[in-house]
Symmetry: C2
Amino acid sequence: MALLMDNQFGNLPADNAVNTKLFLESVAYLPPFLDCLGSKLFAPIKSDISGNITKIRGVFDKDPAKYATLQQIVEAEKETHGTEWPKVGATLALMWLKRGLCFIQVLLQSLADGEKDENNPNLIRVNITKAYDQALKKYHGWLVQKIFKAALLAAPYKSDFIKALSKGQEVTEEDCMASVRQFLINFTATVDAIYEMYTTLNAELDYSV
Amino acid sequence: MALLMDNQFGNLPADNAVNTKLFLESVAYLPPFLDCLGSKLFAPIKSDISGNITKIRGVFDKDPAKYATLQQIVEAEKETHGTEWPKVGATLALMWLKRGLCFIQVLLQSLADGEKDENNPNLIRVNITKAYDQALKKYHGWLVQKIFKAALLAAPYKSDFIKALSKGQEVTEEDCMASVRQFLINFTATVDAIYEMYTTLNAELDYSV
Ligand SMILES: CCCCCCCCCCCCC/C=C/[C@@H](O)[C@H](CO[C@@H]1O[C@H](CO)[C@H](O)[C@H](OS(=O)(=O)O)[C@H]1O)NC(=O)CCCCCCCCCCC
Ligand SMILES: CCCCCCCCCCCCC/C=C/[C@@H](O)[C@H](CO[C@@H]1O[C@H](CO)[C@H](O)[C@H](OS(=O)(=O)O)[C@H]1O)NC(=O)CCCCCCCCCCC
């Protein structure tokens, strides 16, 4: 995550188009970030997200000029795939990836806003639960929700999470949160832009797994 | 699983040495068997088992003559890897793989023995729980145990499981169980032989994940 924060997401242009190359470079730091959460239990999530990224990169690499922005990819697939679309290709991969990004965005924002369980100030369960409820819960059936609840207990302590966010150095929570706030500026704008694009292009689905 | 049963494990020779090539051929049918359990939730288990198989095959392919039996692999690694061993290489992969095999062995045996929950005769939870308790539970920390308990609810109904075991054909439970009993003969002997080898070579570990 230190790495993630060192690699800020790019500034968006006026039309909010997300540059595919820069986006792929930034999200590449996500899977290693999951390792810093400390539990091998998150391996299935890591491999799900890595799979999304690989799929998007695969399309981009076929024609980097044609697919310069994420929107160009989704629009091209809409043309090509007929009724299968949007549950197909990079459109599907980005649909799920954006939910993982949204999860992380809400989690970091909630921490930066100082939201906490007053009785257990060193736990981040309230923040994770908030992120889960907003970003993922409705796309998970009751069984995956149940597993998530169990997995929640593997979440790191806030102090360990902050240490991991800070490359293992001992920094104060306040210093760490200042970097998080800085990171959130372009990150939030990017996530929002992708969500808006899915709404505009009618590319969003709400089936659950 | 139909496939799994069509590809019976080999007969063991007098010295109980397990032929690596035949073993790898038979276990190759395991990951697709997991698909027939019907839930994508089992994907992490499938990938864990596939990883084990790939690792053992990788060692075998380097020198099929030298590694003709599983025991030769484990012994060679004991020589090469020093104090890291046995938590290393194909020795570690087979240590975990045999637990998955044991799980399946106990599950099928319990079904073949007619063990059931009299109040819910079409559920296989009692059989799965028995298999889990014997084969895996002690190697899982409380958190993974909790996740397992949740995942248990995704287990197929007995009738669907039997249908899947029978290539989707409608066969009677009794006919299906007759094939299972046949399959279990060499399968059980193979699993037992691997467990004995781990005991004899002092290759077993009991850390939990
Ligand atoms: C011994 C006991 C064994 C018990 C076994 C239990 C197994 C439990 C498995 C848990 C589920 C792992 C998470 C994966 C869930 C995935 O099912 C979903 C949908 O996944 C999508 O599915 C699509 C098809 O519908 C395509 O295949 C997508 O793939 S495609 O690229 O091909 O298009 C794919 O991403 N992704 C999700 O829900 C996304 C989850 C993102 C989470 C982000 C959180 C990050 C931070 C976490 C910090 C706390
Ligand atoms: C959105 C919510 C997200 C929540 C996320 C929750 C994620 C839940 C993850 C569940 C765990 C999945 C199962 C995998 C567990 C694995 O951790 C263990 C140990 O795995 C071993 O570990 C070693 C190092 O210690 C090596 O890496 C081995 O790898 S090596 O090859 O490199 O040496 C590896 O197999 N294997 C196991 O416990 C084996 C399990 C076998 C089970 C067999 C059952 C088959 C039939 C099932 C029918 C019911």
